[in-house]
Symmetry: C2
Subunit: 151 residues, 2 copies
């Protein structure tokens, strides 16, 4: 059953089931494509950096968490994209061998004034590693279809 705008309440917290295994090959491939800084590409350079060892690009970490969000929270029938993200923080490095999971909290919601078939939901996403350390968080402004638009 699709999750419409009406199907979440402010304060709800969703602990998503999905897990993302971070591999060295993928960390390096993403970095080669999008963030070729030495500490994301090269073990020796990373040891001398603030990260201490090879670490995923922050944009890669965000993208892996987005994948978990799409798999287990956003739904094709009702998700209508997002306007942006506030307070994105890379709290701790993400390393090859880590396993990520995400939680989503509903912060607030309102019906769109210009498009009554949709509503805005502001959510806080937190990504954790296998030690339950928060590694990333952000607040998103998502657009979601209203149930009455399909009734």
């Amino acid at each position: 059953m699709a999750r419409y705008f009406e199907d979440t309440d402010v304060g709800d917290v969703y602990e998503l089931d999905g897990r993302y295994d971070v591999t060295k090959a993928e960390v390096k491939e993403f970095a080669e494509n999008y963030d070729p800084q030495p500490f994301h590409l090269d073990e020796a350079a990373a040891e001398d950096s603030i990260f201490g060892s090879l670490a995923a690009s922050g944009w890669h970490t965000a993208s892996m968490c987005m994948r978990l969000l799409v798999d287990d929270f956003l739904e094709p029938e009702t998700s209508m994209g997002a306007r942006g993200v506030d307070e994105l923080r890379w709290i701790q490095p993400v390393y090859p061998g880590d396993t990520l999971r995400v939680e989503v909290e509903i912060l607030d919601k309102r019906i769109s004034e210009s498009r009554p078939e949709m509503g805005h939901i502001r959510t806080k996403l937190t990504g954790y590693n296998q030690h339950d350390d928060a590694v990333i968080e952000w607040k998103a402004k998502g657009m979601h279809r209203r149930r009455e638009a399909d009734e």
Copy 2:
């Protein structure tokens, strides 16, 4: 010559030379990996969406702009990562066939209290398409090595 913390001034604007050609194959590949929502994967679904036609994932757009930033602005000798990003906005959709470029403005800067060999620089990045429409922007908190640390 490496760009140290001291080598930028508040108010400076850097129009980076690099260009990123957005291809349909890459839009779909990124979406398959990290953001498999129909409007990023499937032309027909995208036509019925808020985007009007197949559009890049917002995280893909951010990652492509990051690549331009790494190629032409951040430098391995002096860039020490970033704590996070504020006010990330996906202003307009990015479509296959678009060509992206970025501008960087120095918003403010201060020497680190805990690590005197580095400083914090807050920057605003704006990504534009080939029509000079702003498509994405964000404000980043980057860490940069101080010149005196290497003297």
